[in-house]
Amino acid sequence: MALTCPGPPSSAWSFPPLPPTRTNASPTSPPPSPSTLPPRTSSYSSLTSCARIFPLPVFMTSGKPFVRKKAIAAILRVFEQYPDAVRVCFKRVVENLETTDVGILSAVVGLFCELAVKEPRSYLPLAPEFYKILVDCRNNWILIKVLKIFAKLAPLEPRLGKRVVEPICEHMGRTGAKSLAFECMMTIVSSMSEYESAVKLAVGKVREFLLDDDPNLKYLGLQALTMVAQKHMWAVLENKELVVKALSDVDVNIKLEALRLVMSMVSEDNVMEICRILISHAQKSDPEFCNEILGYILFTCSRNFYEVICDFDWYVAFLGEMARIPHCQKGKEIETQLIDIGMRVKDARLELVDVARSLVIDPALLGNPFVHGVLAAAAWVSGEYVALSRNPFELVEALLQPRTSLLTPSVRSVYIQSAFKALIFCIWSYGKLNGDDASDPSALTELVAKCHLEGNSETVACESLSDTEVDNANMVIAGGQMSSASSRKYHLTKESLEGLVNLVGTNLGPLAGSDEVEIQERASNVLGFIELMKPELYGHLGHTEGNGMKGKLEASEVVKLMFDVFSEELGPVSLSAQEKVPLPDGLVLKENLSDLEAICSDVKFPLSTSFSLVHSQIMEKDTASSPECKEESGPSTESTSLLAEHRKRHGLYYLPSENKGTTFNDFPPAHEPKDKTIDEAEDLAKLTEESLIIKKKQNQVKPRPVVVKLDDGEGLNVAVEKSKVKTDLISGAVREVLLGNEATTSSSRSKSSNKSSKRREVDRIPESGNDIVNTAISERSNVGSGRRKHQTHLSSGKEKEQHDHKGKQKRDSRHHKHKSRQRADGAMNIPVQSPVIPDFLL
């Protein structure tokens, strides 16, 4: 066995050097052992160093076709490691493009295919050769490779595409080989998609593939169709039934391709139908494919701010449906979209709240961990838009049901917060209802009358909405999408309210001692609030009480404040909103940061019995000085106390806050979308209003609801990856060889002026390459007079034997003799002058 193991360079070649006499042997004699070049991958590095000492180009000029073939195949690796080798032997490689031997041609074309895939532009000058091969050759392998090359070259040169497309179509129609037909198809579809007739033929072939029973062909057909779909959607629509049929194929690959195709077909008109079909498939399939389908649907529908969706009510209901599918693992995405739609699309909020309610009420979902994210979103939505809900009482009951203990703490805290919001809403509505009566008795009777109206599809709350909710109310009234099944009426009476408060108290009582800090904190918040409210609530309900007026007012003021807090609309915030905040005068951002170290060095907060809030002014440097204290009014809970403590210690570094009577730290709920920056709630709200651009879409039967987008891009500004233009050394060298350097060739052109004027482009290319080689060598210091002779000899010899293989072989054999003579001194010179590229071709 002539194969050797990788080792140090010197021992890698265990065969004797190629003696010149061998080349005259007949082609049928056994391949000499040099032909089995060590192909083990790790010896390629040794190959490159060997390439300097005993280069592969030698083999390329060998008489034996199999030697040449292998040399050409191996030369690619040499090029990769040692791009300078291109200059030495590229023209030899190019010469082989004209060979008649199929094996060599196949190897050469394969080599060019590899090179062209990486850097096609450098090989454009060789296009004529490839065209000749395309037209003349009958070997499928070679044709496939040439087609791949043209697929890369055609986009660079439009005229090339025009010339090439006809032979390709011819091949496609004529051939019986599926591989060649497929390759033609792919070439046309990928790089020549502007030629309609060709594309039509290709699509016809694709259809043939799709109809075949062989799963391989079906799969490849679908792949080709995916490529067509980008520019020629009609092709996909034509084959729609086949694609949908493929969705239920046994083969996973085929299913995925079909799914991708189906999603590419999605447009406004058919999105509902397609989703319906896909969901039915999803419910029947295995978990993996089911999740693929869901993933694709979610992605496509949410693309570009829900571009394809016109009917958000349907979509929101659809999201809810998706969340209920047993295998669904896309809870996170559904959660994000629910909240996103809630924020952006006002008109859809009604339906959204409905869907959320159904999700929250269902006790079965609580046990499914995958759905928890969705439940959190549902709870948040219900709390945030509680004004639109049918029955807040039911909602609170659902949010606080004992089975919620199955939820994770973060989700549960959202539940509690939402319940809080709903509670506030109920109390406030009731208070509004009853508070109005003192000033306007007629209003009350009107309200009461409306309250008990049967079949009234408006909520009680609608009537007593504050201004901020008016537009919602108008929308609700005008929406006309009320479910007729259940009226939205609920009785806002003293008893029901009492019951509600009791319910909240009972359910949250045990949670106030919970281990989870978030739950404990929120439960305590709510319980504290209820404690505050209770006396007023029970006393207040008799309107005639006058003594408790003050207390009542305070409590109702509290309620109103809380309600205002929660009625602030949360919308999407652009990333640059923070920058737009104007710096208040006197705020110095950069100074005094050295003090931070003094503070941050001691980690422990000192215990202090008295809480105090920092007065809203910028402090002087001296942080040790006791800041002005202000008594904290309102419910003192643990969270506020910690923050207060922190503020006291580091008051310097807090932005000035509004000097409110009470300081309720309005922390946002836990499940806000991540890109929120909340510094000053009011300023920010104003700014976002300024920066909102509302996009309206016309020409719909039912107007598509407004989707709020921000002007200056909300997504993370992913820096455009500048792919570094890696100078491809190989292509650089190739370009040099093929196109030639004008300045340096001028001198040698005069030498070769006696060449015949009639020459094809083909000849010029190796010629110029030759010139390059010549001139390169002439620049070398190691030029002997003997070499000059060879130069002229070579250049004049070249013109004689244009198409004469045999002549070339003779020449080659003579070159070999020269080489063997020269090799002795050549080998000696290399260690001396490493940058010189040794020229073994002369």
Binding site: M1, A2, L3, P30, P31, S33, T36, L37, P39, T41, S42, Y44, F66, K69, K70, A73, A74, L76, R77, G103, S106, A107, G110, L111, C113, E114, V117, N140, W141, I144, K145, K148, K178, S179, F182, E183, P215, N216, K218, Y219, L220, V250, D251, V252, N253, I254
Partner: protein
């Protein structure tokens, strides 16, 4: 370019591994295991192509075929035509069949050097050289003849000569 050729039995034991790009040994073992996992989960009568982007890089696919107890796996990228690869696999197996009459797994186990030779005649450095099984068989026979001749000069090393 062909990235690799693997022959493994249906228990996942590799019988021939050839990567045309350098991979450290542990990586090779890992790749073989991952490919085995993928192939196990494929049903019958499905397409023979699998995308292996995660293992080898973008646009790399593999084509596999089951013959008796062996999986033949060819890993290739965009410069190769899928159906042509299937054909090539067929050529490879036919050549093996001709060289060892009615080849079975044991033949490959005990004559791995010859199998490597055959593979080298077909693919060199990731490039396809020969697509006709008769030519390959001829070349392989010539090589073995050479070996026999050279063995008379060089003292024969047991195990080098195919059985």
């Amino acid at each position: 370019m062909i990235r690799g050729v693997i022959i493994m039995n249906d228990q996942g034991k590799p019988r021939l591994i050839r990567f045309y790009e350098f991979q450290p040994v542990e990586k090779q073992q890992e790749l073989v295991r991952s490919i085995y996992k993928i192939l196990c989960s494929r049903a019958e009568n499905v397409s023979n192509f699998v995308k292996v982007d995660s293992l080898f890089g973008p646009d790399v696919r593999l084509v596999y075929k089951t013959f008796a107890t062996l999986y033949f796996v060819f890993i290739f990228d965009n410069s190769e035509n899928e159906l042509a690869m299937l054909d090539l696999m067929q050529v490879f197996v036919e050549t093996l069949d001709k060289c060892f009459s009615n080849v079975c797994e044991l033949d490959i186990v005990f004559n791995f050097n010859k199998v490597h030779t055959i593979l080298d005649e077909i693919i060199l450095g990731g490039q396809v050289l020969e697509t006709s099984s008769s030519d390959v068989v001829m070349a392989v026979e010539d090589i073995s003849k050479l070996e026999k001749n050279s063995n008379s000069i060089i003292p024969s090393i047991p195990g080098w000569q195919g059985r």
